[in-house]
């Protein structure tokens, strides 16, 4: 069996030995066989799952309650409008979180006794805000601050909800950045300093670029999580995707709008994840040794 893609004779007149050709043919056969088996096995499992779930007595009721296509289309505009709030909150908060998180991480990794108060502040901050339940922070800021009735402060729910997200998530992201900064080998700093770079330049041109690249995947984790947690500010009265779905569900006790919201969230996150992976691979960001050679 000859593979038409493979020239029997290469440009320089070399042709694989009979043994090598047999090897190649065997490998090709093995590949095809594995593919076929994997395909059949997948189909069998899927059929079993579909038939299994489809034959349960409650399935018709579940299908009309959760997977009613017409109801889904009907709810889509309202849920999508709610999702738009999630997206706006997420974008604004993400920018602020990166700024605050990075600042905290840098404060915490400053060296020298004179910076002790700053290090202590950063450590205390991350300790407190990582332990506090996000919902509590949202309630405290969202209902507590407006209750003070201070002049000049906004009292829109979305602003205080966003502030709570920024405060809490900054502490997570600060720890991620700190891990990245501390993972840069001391020899890098030493080399940069011996080349005459100042502390600030070392941080700016040598340490941070490497640190940020290394923590890209966990950072993305935090932002996907932020996207979903942005819905928590709905407790302050604003309408996000999940709250919009809840309102739709209350009309006729059909849960399909929730499923629609779920699909929208997934559809929003997957491209972001793939894009980050792609950029990271292209830039050779992964791997401590500077990526694949």
């Amino acid at each position: 069996m000859r593979n038409p893609d493979e020239p029997a004779v290469t440009a320089d007149g070399w042709r694989p030995s009979r043994l090598q050709q047999e090897r190649l043919a065997y490998r090709r056969r093995q590949t095809v066989r594995s593919g076929l088996i994997a395909g059949v096995s997948t189909v069998v499992v899927l059929v079993l799952v579909v038939v299994g779930i489809g034959s349960t007595p409650g399935w018709p009721r579940v299908r009309e309650t959760f997977f009613d296509v017409d109801r889904g289309w009907e709810a889509l505009p309202v849920v999508a409008q709610g999702l738009w709030l999630n997206i706006r909150v997420m974008i604004v908060c993400a920018i602020l979180i990166v700024i605050f998180g990075l600042t905290l991480a840098i404060l915490r990794t400053l060296r020298g006794p004179v910076f002790f108060p700053l290090r202590m502040f950063a450590a205390a901050y991350t300790d407190v805000f990582r332990e506090l339940p996000l919902l509590l922070v949202i309630f405290l800021l969202g209902f507590g601050v407006p209750a003070l009735q201070l002049r000049g402060l906004p009292n829109q729910a979305v602003i205080w909800g966003g502030a709570a997200l920024v405060l809490t998530y900054s502490s997570y992201v600060a720890e991620v950045f700190r891990a990245g900064i501390e993972s840069v080998h001391p020899s890098q700093r030493a080399a940069a300093r011996s080349l005459g770079l100042t502390h600030r330049q070392t941080l700016r041109f040598v340490v941070l670029p490497q640190a940020v690249r290394r923590v890209m995947p966990p950072l993305l984790n935090d932002f996907v999580s932020l996207q979903k947690d942005s819905g928590l500010i709905a407790v302050l009265g604003v309408i996000d995707a999940i709250r919009a779905a809840q309102l739709e569900t209350a009309e006729d006790f059909n849960f399909t709008p929730y499923v629609v919201a779920g699909i929208l969230f997934v559809a929003l996150t997957i491209p972001l994840t793939r894009l980050t992976d792609y950029v990271a691979r292209r830039q050779g960001w992964y791997g401590g040794g500077g990526g694949p050679v």
Binding site: L48, T56, A147, A157, A234, A250
Partner: protein, 289 residues
């Protein structure tokens, strides 16, 4: 384990697992209409637990529908009505058991753990696709409440509310009325509970709340220092009613409906309304369209 055995085991596990998890099919025939009173006699009722009338409601259970977050005390309108219905069906006070049922769980698919759920749930044709309702035990009016000195305190018509920031509880018909009848220019605030809406009103994050009238009176009288009822909202067509929620196709539905109707006809419901709900109406302050 070689691949062939693995496949066989996996397939077997799937089949066994799925069939083992499959519950007995519930008989979901049409509910029989009781031809006579004795079809609803106590020993013939299709109950979750024989000899016990199981009623569900959410926790916390709110005033003035319940009193002191305790549905078992018979104080509070819905608690009293539930005991009255149970009595009509032949259950003494000690044979009524209460279950905590979250609002969402009251209409989730699948078997229910209650015979009836009573939670200020409004009857609607759309909702009937998912659950059974008894006949209505209370006619609901929606009202707008606010605090003294707010920009809608003097509102006389629905048009006067157009620019206000209004709130309502999620999943309620109050929200539906707010959206479809008031049609405010600003997106309404939607809260998990009425208590949170009241908090937002106190914080001046809201100008007003749309809520059913008895709850509105309770808020104004007990929860707000300077609360006031702006006025009642005209309904969107037919009268809105609260009803008992039962499992879809429950054989108990006609019997509960019969009991509710009997209580309506003999004046018990009216008596309980006077006893437990502020009977003053805001009809003098009906907001015009």
């Amino acid at each position: 384990m070689n691949p062939r055995t693995a496949v066989a085991v996996l397939a077997a596990a799937l089949v066994v697992g799925i069939t083992a998890c499959a519950p007995e099919d519930e008989s979901s025939g049409a509910a029989p209409t009781p031809s006579s009173a004795d079809a609803c006699s106590k020993d013939k009722l299709a109950l979750k637990t024989p000899g016990t009338f199981t009623a569900g409601t959410d926790k916390p259970a709110y005033e003035p529908w319940f009193s002191g977050d305790d549905p078992t005390n018979g104080k509070g309108f819905e608690s009293a009505v539930t005991y009255a219905v149970a009595a009509k069906l032949g259950f003494g006070k000690d044979q009524v058991k209460w279950q905590t049922v979250q609002f969402n769980a009251a209409f989730a698919p699948g078997p229910k753990k209650f015979d009836v759920d009573v939670n200020q749930i409004s009857i609607s044709e759309e909702r009937r696709k998912a659950v059974d309702f008894s006949t209505g035990y209370y006619d609901v009016d929606q009202a707008v409440i606010t605090t003294a000195g707010s920009k809608i305190a003097q509102a006389r018509s629905i048009g006067d509310l157009a620019d206000a920031k209004l709130g309502a509880q999620v999943g309620t018909t109050s929200y539906t009325v707010l959206r479809d009848v008031v049609k405010p220019k600003q997106t309404p605030g939607v809260f998990d509970t009425n208590d949170l809406a009241v908090q937002a009103l106190k914080n001046k994050q809201l100008d007003g709340i749309v809520v059913d009238l008895p709850t509105g009176f309770y808020m104004v009288n007990a929860q707000l220092d300077d609360g006031q009822i702006v006025g009642q909202l005209p309904g969107g067509g037919e009268t809105e009613q609260f009803g008992f929620v039962l499992e879809k196709g429950s054989a108990l539905t006609p019997c509960v409906s019969q009991a509710v109707d009997a209580l309506k006809n003999d004046g018990t419901l009216a008596k309980l309304r006077q006893e437990h709900l502020t009977t003053e109406t805001a009809s003098g302050r009906e907001l015009t369209r």
